[in-house]
Symmetry: C2
Subunit: 356 residues, 2 copies
């Protein structure tokens, strides 16, 4: 094992932890971070855990100019028995390497990254909030640091993991969201970077989000970039529809992020013998199902919210109210199952969790 390689420098100046009832998202960070350098010729080296601190970078660092950055998002949970649990972290590091490949960033050692994460979570364990629904959000990311204004894959990178205690997504119970289908702007196209978790994908999505905001919608639902007709995903969630008893989600076609929650949901549905299909699904099919009364549920899936029921879906002038704007039966079951596995009240028969 590579564990021994990870050097550790503990802070001498621990920060105060935020009150559990005042947790937000992604603004407060723990006392330590994991960091590792890449140098051409030498590869990834010097994995270490150090006090959380600013980075000093040249203004010509390539990440500021050419967007060579990828990231991941996962969570560490405290179970009801006070154990520390990670949910499918291997999938995140595997996806990070797929993103790396798309942006010509050298692959990381996934095992080493996982060992680094485990050590980091163990060191900052006191930062995992213990109220229901709370967790420690974990953000691995890689940036190109070579100070050079030439468009080419950088010769230097930083891989880091930072962590932020995060409040419950659903403070007042699960609230269905209003989502707007975007008509003009496009998030991704086959052949582009849609299936990778690159910084650029999120920047390009801000414009659609701004339009949705303005009209009072929480998020954007993206259609495909070629025909502007097939459903892809929401800003930071994959999307599922339950039509006439069958749960349908867009197939992974190269322009959709392969969500880990998405994959987990599909497995849970199959284990419960609920019909589930991964395939092309057009916005017209959804509208038709709505009009003939067979659109039973719609929900987004992602690490942040686990499940986000869609209460209203807007497409052009059509405002589709789904399941009376309430969470549906299947959505609720999926939410309960996944959060139960994550907080240790439901047995993990899938082998998804890692206890520290």
């Amino acid at each position: 094992m590579k564990m021994s390689e990870i050097k550790i420098e503990l802070t001498t100046n621990p920060k105060e932890k935020p009150a559990v009832d005042q947790l937000g998202f992604g603004q407060v960070f723990t006392d330590h971070m994991f960091i590792m350098d890449y140098t051409e010729g030498q590869g990834w080296h010097d994995p270490r855990i150090i006090p959380y601190q600013p980075l000093s970078l040249e203004p010509s660092s390539m990440v500021f100019h050419y967007g060579q950055s990828v990231f991941e998002g996962l969570k560490a949970y405290l179970t009801v028995n006070n154990e520390t649990l990670l949910f499918r972290p291997d999938r995140n590091f595997n996806r990070l390497n797929n993103s790396n490949d798309r942006l010509v960033i050298p692959a990381i050692d996934e095992e080493l990254a996982l060992e680094g994460l485990k050590k980091l979570v163990t060191i900052d364990r006191e930062w995992i909030p213990n109220a229901p629904g709370t967790s420690l959000y974990v953000r691995p990311f890689i940036i190109a640091t070579e100070p050079h204004l030439g468009v080419h894959p950088a010769k230097n990178y930083l891989f880091m993991i930072i962590m932020s205690p995060s409040g419950s997504y659903y403070k007042g119970g699960i609230n269905p969201v209003k989502i707007m289908v975007e008509q003009q702007f496009v998030r991704a196209v086959v052949g582009g970077t849609g299936e990778a978790k690159t910084g650029g994908n999120y920047a390009s999505a801000l414009k659609g989000q701004e339009i949705a905001d303005r009209e009072g919608y929480a998020q954007t639902l993206w259609l495909d970039g070629k025909e502007n007709r097939y459903i892809e995903e929401v800003g930071s969630m994959n999307i599922f529809f339950k039509i006439n008893g069958t749960v349908i989600t867009p197939a992974l076609n190269g322009s959709i992020l392969p969500g880990i929650t998405r994959d987990s949901m599909i497995q849970v549905l199959k284990s419960k013998n609920i019909p589930v299909e991964e395939r092309l699904i057009s916005i017209d099919e959804v509208v038709e199902a709505y009009q003939n009364g067979t659109l039973e549920e719609a929900f987004g899936t992602g690490t942040a919210a686990v499940i986000s029921p869609v209460g209203e879906l807007k497409w052009r002038d059509e405002k589709m109210i789904i399941n009376n704007g309430e969470i549906g039966e299947v959505s609720q079951m999926l939410y309960d199952t996944l959060t139960g596995i994550q907080n240790g009240t439901i047995e993990d028969t899938f082998g998804w969790t890692i206890k520290l």
Copy 2:
């Protein structure tokens, strides 16, 4: 005027300038940089020129995660009369604001930016190399600095201008390049960010570039993202074809960067009564012209090289050798005209240049 607002702090420790015959590109920077902050509620503020120095940023700064970064590229030249000249810098700041709009970054004051640039170039004037073909490369850019892991337009930004003395693009005379048409990967699609100069666009292009490199080609020619059929542009240049006496370049359709050199070339061509068309042009049309002997010239245009003649264009198994792999007549005329205006040997009848 806002000039008075720009504070200046000169370096007490000037760096050594590189020898003119050892100039590369984008690795050595001048003694000073321009910087300005954006804070929500306060707007852009504190424009200042300070010694070139590293940036200290939180690991959670949004530019590292969500790719909210845009940039520009232009040049300052020394004329044969030793005057300092900028080429259409107003177009660059205007395009920067278009890029800002696409990524929901607050607009900058274009006039103030131009004043800042003029002051900066004047202060670092000694850094402009004076050998033929050399220049001072100017890189304005904006990054999102808010330390927050939430996907939304940032509340804090930095706008900066850094400058790098750059060698002659054509040391041993103009060498036509070999370019490969990309089949699998896509740079941009209508509705995406292709017409903006965002960091993410360049990261997503690295994969195609890697393939071209491997096959011995200098750059990638991108086709459109919808039909993979229409010609868009090269990695960092717009593209022109001369077919049967007419110069043709892809129309600005929303997924192509509106190059300032491209626009200048079109104006020069018109002024010389050479037929020029901006329209859809498919790769099939180019291949057909090649096969029937009417493909006379092909060239890329951009700030870095001004003109880069295409000597070979590869599409699938077809290797098209254009104009015997030599620079064509029109390409040479355009190159001579633009570089003449830039070095002060040809009168600028277009009003493109600003003398400091």
